[in-house]
Amino acid sequence: MHEELYKQMAQSIIDGEKETAIELAQKSIELGIPPLDAITNGFVVGVNYIGDLFGKGEAFLPELVMAGEAMKAAVAVLEPELLKLGEAREMMGRVVLATVEGDIHEIGKTLVGTMLSAAGFEVTDLGVDQPAEKIIGKALEINAQIIGLSALLTTTMVRQREVIEELDKEGLRPRIKVMVGGAPITREWAEKIKADGTSEDAVGAVQLAKKLVGKE
């Protein structure tokens, strides 16, 4: 059933063709295909494929971004249908992302957000220059399982530790897990500040997030 359409859906993601992905999502609604099937059997296959290639160094970062954007667009078309049916895509978890206070860089964080959304996480991106209390407040408000902290500068990466210390002080861990990332971030740093993990790239960040919510 609909194998050809599913293949086209996956391919539209692999090619990063957002418009095609939207059209195929609409077509699947017209054909009465359950939206969850379209996501799982079609679009997700494409995202996983390009993610694997990237992991092997065989795909380019811009391809990954375009695939993530196409995935988000297709899911946006299908989501209202899911709601009508009273269904939901299996939600992997809720994540709050932010660049720490004093830092105003965000391209890496935005990319992680895109890939997490494509993988089925509900992502709230607070943007740049965010103080600890605001990040933690938002995480509590939406009942997030994960906080993702970004920093580009050596001078601001220390702020990641502040957020973690604040969470500890409030007794919010291990309920809320913390992922850290950014150009100066190493595994040693993540361990030192007692973060729950780090990744060098967005694909690894998705794997880490899945692990942290126990859905590997």
């Binding site: 990237f54 160094g57 065989e58 795909a59 380019f60 970062l61 811009p62 004093g102 105003i104 860089h105 391209i107 890496g108 990319l111 220059d129 500068l153 050596t154 001078t155 601001t156 990466m157 220390v158 702020r159 150009a183 100066p184 060098e200 790239d201 967005a202």
Partner: protein, 470 residues
């Protein structure tokens, strides 16, 4: 010598016009009210959260700027930027230290900032010292200021200020510069706007403070081609130029005639890892930045030594050699990167001594060739043919050896196999570089500051700590 040009006059003109269009039609995200008022009073217009710069204003500000600033060391050394010389300085702001002997890395501390300054002070082809490492044993808020504080006493060469982010840092850096005798207008400070085309409030306030203090703005736009600027190198250079000129306009309105160095730090995206590309396109981009900056009459500072390599290996040598030589031949006024590794994340003492030697070779390339009668040497050939039939005993030979026809190297291995394998124990250039770095750090003494100068620097840092650390 004639400089290497990758772009024709028409192509440079097209890049100039494209830059003015980006500044005028696209604009720069800018929300800091005080500086926005200054810009709009001067004729800039607002388009949502972006400020658009009229071409005439941009050109007026470029005309006003001091494009040939001077920086001075406490040893009296004067670097006249834009005067035709090529000056080398080191990488600024590396996170890690590569220990070449063991092949390991470690996090940099304040001691590394001190040691790097002292080592660079001893290297003849390092003309300006920039605070090298980001020490992690000080609070983040004070990191840039500590970098400057620990560099000043440990070199007598001209010191370039650290990269800064906040207006408050400007004030303390200027105070510290005054302690060692460098007037504020000989202090350079660098700020990186966020690409693409974004000047955050902190950055705008810092530029305002720099301009008011008369500091030389050597701002460092650092777009990444393919991620935060176009994948095409010339497109990225247009955006980079718009970013740096937008800051220049503010500085020149506030303080007409203050000094500026036109800097480019365009990197390209490593598309498979998301990191910065260390390949030869970096040299190409730097060379084109030089050409575009010279079109406006600026002195130009670009990336020189640069590589993705993690050790002192073949990739390291070929990438940094090309990436430094190409912009040097294009006429760069300043090249950065002495000691750099891993695309600027890491630095090493052995790398600094290697780069000193590479810089010497590049300076030799820049000197080029002479074809006057003395160098064409017809009379010398005549003498030799009439006499001994070799040139070894000619005064002309020794004269030009001493005059630097060959830039003699110290670390490169140039012996026979027998000598190399026997007497020299198969040592390679990197082994000599490691030993040379160790020797300098053991032996080199930098004339200290006066005790009252040290006390004054401490006082300034204490004041900074009270204000900046929560």
């Amino acid at each position: 010598m004639k400089f290497l040009k990758f772009l024709s006059a028409e192509e440079i003109q097209a890049m100039h016009e494209a830059t003015l269009r980006v500044l005028h039609e696209v604009g720069v995200i800018w929300t800091h009210q005080t500086t926005l008022d200054i810009l709009t009073d001067a004729g800039c217009t607002l388009k949502g959260n972006r400020v658009c710069f009229p071409p005439d204003l941009v050109m007026d500000c470029i005309a006003r700027a001091n494009k040939r600033p001077v920086i001075r060391g406490r040893n009296g050394q004067v670097n006249e930027l834009g005067g035709g010389n090529l000056y080398f300085h080191n990488l600024g702001g590396a996170r890690d230290v590569f220990e070449a002997q063991s092949g390991t890395r470690r996090i940099a501390t304040q001691q590394d900032v001190v040691d790097a300054a002292r080592l660079l002070d001893a290297l003849p082809h390092c003309h300006t010292v920039t605070p090298f490492f980001t020490p992690r044993d000080v609070p983040g808020e004070l990191m840039s200021l500590f970098m400057y504080r620990h560099t000043l006493p440990h070199t007598t060469k001209p010191v370039q200020g650290p990269g800064i982010q906040f207006a408050e840092e400007v004030q303390y850096a200027v105070e510290m510069a005054a302690v060692v005798g460098t007037p504020p207008h000989e202090l350079t400070l660098s700020l990186s706007p966020v690409s693409p085309l974004t000047v955050h409030d902190h950055a705008a306030a810092a530029i305002l403070a720099m301009a008011r203090a008369g500091v030389i703005c050597s701002n460092l736009p650092a777009p990444t081609g393919g991620a935060t600027s176009p994948m095409t190198i010339t497109g990225s250079l247009v955006q980079q130029s718009a970013e740096t000129l937008s800051l220049l306009v503010l500085a020149q309105i506030v303080n007409p005639g203050c000094g500026v160095v036109y800097c480019g730090r365009l990197g390209m995206l490593e598309p498979r890892t998301g990191l910065i590309w260390g390949g030869v396109e970096l040299g190409l981009a730097s060379a084109a930045t030089v050409q575009l900056g010279h079109f406006y009459g600026f002195s130009v500072n670009v990336y020189g030594f640069s590589t993705n390599a993690h050790t002192l290996d073949a990739q390291n040598a070929f990438e940094r050699g090309l990436n430094a030589a190409i912009p040097a031949l294009a006429g760069a006024d300043e090249l950065s990167g002495i000691g750099e590794m891993e695309a600027g994340v890491m630095g090493s003492y052995a790398q600094m001594t290697l780069d000193n030697e590479l810089a010497g070779s590049i300076l030799r390339l820049r000197r080029g060739l002479s074809a006057d009668a003395e160098h064409l040497a017809v009379e010398v050939i005549q003498n030799v043919m009439d006499g001994t039939r070799n040139f070894l005993g000619q005064k002309h030979t020794m004269k030009h050896l001493r005059a630097g026809e060959l830039a003699l190297t110290k670390l490169a291995e140039r012996n026979s196999w027998e000598t190399w394998e026997g007497k020299l124990g198969r040592k390679q250039m990197a082994d000599y570089a490691i030993a040379e770095a160790e020797r300098i750090l053991r032996e080199h003494v930098v004339p200290p500051l006066e005790p009252q100068q040290e006390a004054e620097l401490d006082r300034i840092m204490a004041a900074a700590e009270r204000e900046l650390v929560e």
